[in-house]
């Protein structure tokens, strides 16, 4: 069954077609990798799917429901979570508080409901559990502005998980982590997927992404170049050319 | 004919706004600071211009003195007010700027007295010309001429000279400009210098037009300058010019047609709010 579907998505910036007529479907339970050389339009496509950018044309469906114009916070409430490529922590909160904010969705859904709720013990326990799971429990009570990038990247994943998502879209979650941290987070992504969360992953770390993804989509010059089983896709000549060409010109 | 005259008066005010707003756009474009304290620079220009005119009897001397005083004050405000707090959130610089503005309003009151000063020989004010049934005085004509000349000079500087190109490069990408050997800090001083000289000259002109220089004369025009840069769309120089003229004309007609419901300042800000509700990115801004 299809969980997320993008139909004929296009967007242009000042005449340049950043994404042109891309359609894709993400099945429930999938772990899909979205790859492509720099400037291929991966992040833009992700932004169209998540609603950060409204598409010029095309539609996005979540469980068959058209969510193209739905505000981001409503999508998050439906279980559609995302992380940003560049970490966006609440800088003046601790890591635990950052995750607690996401865990408190039921309370903060209406301002008036939030006004009468003070107790945060349940959210804190949940936040600590998630930080533990991501291996950063030791930073729980440090301010976000004072911890290294590796912590923030993983805190961001914890924050997305605190939403109890059914669909998780991760924009380069492994960037900025060292090899050991990256492998550990990649393994966790596989675990989460096994636990029932559908995951879409934009990633530059091809080694990890081909290892964990069950299907790859390749984007090139704003259009879909190919898709399929990771090893088969990576072996294709046109995919190799796209990467090599991009590297030569970069 | 009456409507044509209103249009003309509006455009004349628009020219004055443009001289004020261009500087605010430059500062905003480079530093993301809403430089409210530009009003202080404007008022200082007017006072020094007036004192110079009354002392020397020459309006040319008045403009030079006003421009020099203003041109000195602007960079000083940058150095001592903004530069130490550049890395803080924009709110901090805005509040500091408001602090300078209101403090100096009383400062001028202490220095030059509360009631305002007039030019002793304001020949431009008394010299009037009539054509096609419309009457203008020489100050109004000079306002238009000065604005056109100075803004054209600025356009040539920005597009045709090495310094201008360096300056634009810095506005669009400071780290990149630095890697090409451009002194970012130097560009900032130049920026404040240009903005302040324009404001100082505008101050002298407005002083001549009203034949009055008073402590609070800069505030409203500075607030409107800020409204104009928002209207024009964020650091867009052509947008700023269009918005300046549009605001001048809207005010001019508005004070006639809306006289029973709103005053002049309210009309200006109503225009701002209406435009922003329709086009949040401003008149010529891109989304």
């Amino acid at each position: 069954m299809t969980l997320l579907e993008g139909r004929n998505l296009s967007i242009a910036f000042g005449g340049v077609h950043a994404v042109e007529n891309v359609s894709l479907a993400v099945a429930k339970g999938e772990l899909l990798g979205l790859i492509g050389p720099n400037g291929a339009g991966k992040t833009t496509l992700l932004r169209l799917l998540t609603g950060i950018l409204p598409p010029d044309t095309g539609h996005v469906f979540f469980e068959g429901r058209d969510i193209t114009r739905m505000p981001i916070h409503r999508r998050a409430q439906l279980g559609f979570a995302l992380t940003h490529q560049i970490v966006r922590p609440f800088r003046e909160m601790t890591l635990a508080e950052n995750v607690m904010m996401a865990a408190a969705g039921e309370v903060t859904v209406r301002p008036w409901k939030a006004l009468v709720a003070v107790n945060a013990r349940r959210e804190r326990e949940r936040a600590l559990g998630l930080l533990e799971r991501l291996g950063i429990a030791d930073g729980a009570d440090k301010l976000a502005r004072n911890v290294p990038l590796g912590y923030l990247k993983r805190m961001q994943a914890a924050r997305a998980l605190a939403l109890n998502p059914r669909l998780l879209m991760l924009d380069e979650p492994l960037a900025g982590l060292n090899a050991a941290e990256a492998t550990r987070l990649a393994d966790l992504i596989v675990d989460l997927n096994a636990g029932g969360i559908t995951i879409v992953l934009v990633e530059h770390n091809l080694g990890e992404v081909t290892r964990i993804a069950r299907r790859l989509l390749v984007l090139h010059n704003g259009a879909l170049l190919g898709e399929g089983e990771p090893r088969a896709v990576m072996a294709r000549a046109d995919v190799r050319d796209a990467y090599l060409g991009a590297d030569v010109h970069a | 004919m009456y409507y044509a005259e209103l249009l003309l008066v509006g455009l004349i005010w628009g020219c004055t706004y443009a001289m004020m707003a261009l500087g605010l756009t430059l500062v905003y474009g480079l530093l993301r600071i809403l430089h409210v304290a530009q009003a202080t620079v404007f008022t200082l220009g007017a006072y020094i211009g007036l004192l110079a005119a009354n002392y020397s009897g020459s309006l040319a001397v008045a403009f030079i003195a006003g421009a020099i005083a203003a041109g000195a004050l602007g960079p000083l405000i940058y150095r001592f007010v903004y530069q130490p707090i550049l890395d803080r959130p924009p709110f901090v610089a805005l509040v500091a700027s408001i602090g300078v503005l209101i403090a100096m309003e009383d400062g001028f009151r202490l220095l030059f007295g509360p009631y305002g000063l007039s030019f002793e020989h304001n020949t431009w004010f008394t010299t009037t010309y009539s054509f096609a049934g419309m009457t203008m005085n020489l100050v109004q004509i000079w306002m238009v001429v000065t604005a056109v000349v100075l803004l054209s000079a600025f356009a040539i500087f920005a597009t045709r000279t090495r310094a201008g190109v360096a300056w634009r490069a810095t506005v669009s990408d400071p780290p990149m400009a630095e890697s090409f050997g451009i002194s970012v800090s130097g560009v900032r001083y130049v920026n404040f210098l240009i903005a302040s000289v324009l404001a100082g000259i505008a101050g002298v002109l407005v002083g001549l037009l009203n034949n009055l220089v008073e402590p609070g004369m800069g505030s409203v025009i500075a607030y409107k300058g800020l409204a104009i840069i928002v209207l024009g769309g964020l650091g867009s120089v052509p947008g700023t010019l269009v918005a300046s003229l549009a605001l001048g004309v809207v005010e001019s007609y508005g004070t006639v047609f809306l006289d029973k419901v709103l005053d002049r300042d309210a009309i200006a800000f109503l225009f701002l709010i209406v435009v922003l509700m329709i086009r949040p990115q401003g008149l010529l801004g891109r989304r």
């Binding site: 505000p71 409430q77 966006r88 609440f90 | 202490l110």
Partner: protein, 278 residues
């Protein structure tokens, strides 16, 4: 004695105004340079009601609601413009309010509204204003501890991140505007009945900046700091003749110094000395 009672009442009104702005700017991070307009809206609405014979408590309530409803409208407008421009738009709202009131004969134009019925004596207004100020302090402290306060903090620190974790940023901003402007409306209603005369100029841009100065000097975001700032800025001109004559010079210089050396205001200063205020 009367003098002290009236100074205390004004201090309490300023506390209400400053805490209202602090809800909007300090808690929710939305800069507003037009707070005096809502003070004025409350004052005019309540005054009109009383002049028309509406009972005092109801008149005050109308003032609160009118200010709060306009606050919601401005909150919606605020959603449409980028953060930097909100300051200019709210400043514009202030000028629009003033320019509209000045031209309306039914609002007394420049002369304002006089002979507003006054049902209480000096002590009564003092008790009312101080009671309201205390209630607002309690509310502020509670908001800060509640999930609403946490969500405001998230909106203030990073709107986009707040959206991605399901926080209704628009809803919270509008709530902050409603609460803050309704508080200003309450102060306006009390002020109008106490002085029995209101004129447009009382609610001008300088008044907005004065309220902002109380918030910023006390310490933006800190309830206790803001209360201290409001009281301090009310008392200073009363204590020193020079400050009364050159209020703007002193307020302006204080704003500049605080921004330059202690952006956290008095509360930030105390915190650096090891005292943490709520």
């Amino acid at each position: 004695m009367d003098y002290y009672v009236s100074v205390a009442t004004f201090a309490a009104l300023n506390v209400i105004l400053a805490l209202g702005l602090n809800l909007i700017s300090g808690f929710c991070g939305q800069v507003s340079l037009g707070h005096a307009a809502f003070y004025g809206l409350g004052a005019y609405a309540a005054a009109l009601c009383s002049v028309a014979g509406v009972p005092f408590p109801l008149a005050i309530l109308v003032g609160v609601l009118v200010a709060g409803i306009f606050g919601i409208v401005v909150g919606f407008a605020a959603l449409r413009v980028r953060e930097d421009f909100l300051a200019i738009v709210t400043m514009g709202v202030g000028f629009l309010f003033l320019g509209a009131v000045r031209k309306q004969p039914w609002l007394g134009a420049e002369m304002g509204i006089a002979k507003i019925p006054s049902p209480l004596d000096k002590w009564g207004y003092a008790a009312l204003a101080i009671g309201a100020a205390v209630a607002l302090v309690v509310l502020s402290l509670h908001v800060r501890r509640s999930w609403m306060g946490r969500a405001f903090g998230a909106v203030a620190q990073d709107e986009d991140a707040a959206r991605t974790i399901g926080i209704d940023v628009a809803g919270y901003k509008i709530t902050a505007f409603f609460l803050g402007t309704a508080a200003a409306g309450l102060a306006g209603g009390i002020y109008a009945h106490m002085t029995q005369l209101i004129i447009p100029d009382t609610f001008n841009f300088i008044q907005s900046i004065t309220i902002l100065a109380m918030v910023v000097i006390g310490g933006i975001g800190s309830t206790i700091g803001v209360v201290a700032g409001a009281i301090l800025l009310t008392l200073m001109p009363e204590l020193f003749r020079f400050i009364n004559d050159y209020k703007l010079l002193v307020y302006g210089a204080l704003l500049l110094l605080v921004m330059r050396f202690s952006p956290g205001g008095l509360a930030g200063l105390l915190q650096r000395l090891g005292l943490r205020l709520a």
